[in-house]
Amino acid sequence: MTTFSELVSKAKETGRLASVVESIPYLRFLGIGIDLVGGEIVGKMAYSKHLIGNTALPALHGGTIGALLESTAIVQTIWEAETARLPKIVTITIDYLRSGRPVDTYARGVITKQGRRVVNVGVEAWQEDRSRPIARANAHFLLEPFDGTGGRSVSP
């Protein structure tokens, strides 16, 4: 079995994050792909009917936008920080700025502060126009440093 850290170091070597993202069932279920696009990590949630939260408008469920923001922040963290396992979410604050229309949604995260154990990430989601974000979030994640205590790279 390929361990999480093997998967991540391979992805960092090849510049292809798809294998990490595809290993996560929930992202497959939502149709979220996250990869390097023109030198930056961009998350994309392909529109699908099962993402709708309001059939009258129609609009995407706020939770799906939250999941895209969180996942994009996680992948940004894996890319930049050293962690022996997937970053663990501690807090997230999501601001919903515009309703999510039934089209593809994108997200991009920026690490605000990286410590040894905790990372703070700001992340923004948009649809057709990047200058008109539909949501933004700030999140804290816990890392597991590669050291004597956290060397455990895989096993449950």
């Binding site: 069932p25 929930y26 993402l51 059939t55 939770g63 997230i92 919903y96």
Partner: protein, 167 residues
């Protein structure tokens, strides 16, 4: 999971609270495709608070090593529960939208366990609703997984202000 269809009381009539529960349940599932896709369902409405449930499912897994469900699934459950609590407080079908949601993840939900979220809309003005929410393992409401605070925008048309005067 709660029985969602209105139950007949002993005298053969459908009790008022069961009819309300059935309406909330319909609002949670029938009109919200993504709630249905995740299996989010109505559990109960009691004393002003509302409880929804999210059964464990392999498709919700966010960490393939630990099989723990993705934080996003908890976010969705809490957003849905907070929104339902606002609808219950409004007592009428007024459109609402989430303004912000702040979630603290206290501990991972255990693989295989159903998660419940209970929300209480504790303050409502003409345009804004304030909600707090707790998510916990269904078998023990004290076994908290996450807590959240949300604010919602209420799109009242003029003349539907029940209290009058709030901002």
């Amino acid at each position: 999971m709660a029985e969602n269809a209105p139950k007949e009381a002993n005298d053969g009539t459908v009790s008022e609270s069961d009819a309300i529960d059935a309406r909330i349940s319909e609002g949670v599932s029938a009109f919200v495709p993504h709630n249905r896709a995740l299996g989010i369902h109505f559990v109960e409405a009691k004393g002003g608070s509302v409880t929804l449930g999210l059964p464990y499912d392999d498709k919700l897994v966010g960490d393939p090593v630990t099989r723990i469900i993705h934080g996003g699934a908890i976010t969705t459950l809490m957003d849905a529960t907070c929104g339902t609590a606002v609808f219950v407080r409004l007592k009428e079908a007024i459109p609402i939208a989430t303004l912000d949601l702040r979630i603290d993840y206290l501990k991972p939900a255990e693989p295989g366990e159903t998660v419940h979220a209970r929300a209480d809309c504790f303050k409502i003005t003409r345009t804004i609703a304030f909600v707090r929410c707790e998510a916990f393992h269904a078998r023990d409401s004290k076994d908290l997984v996450a807590v959240a605070n949300g604010t919602f925008m209420i799109f009242r048309t003029s003349g539907t202000d029940p209290k009058g005067g709030a901002p």
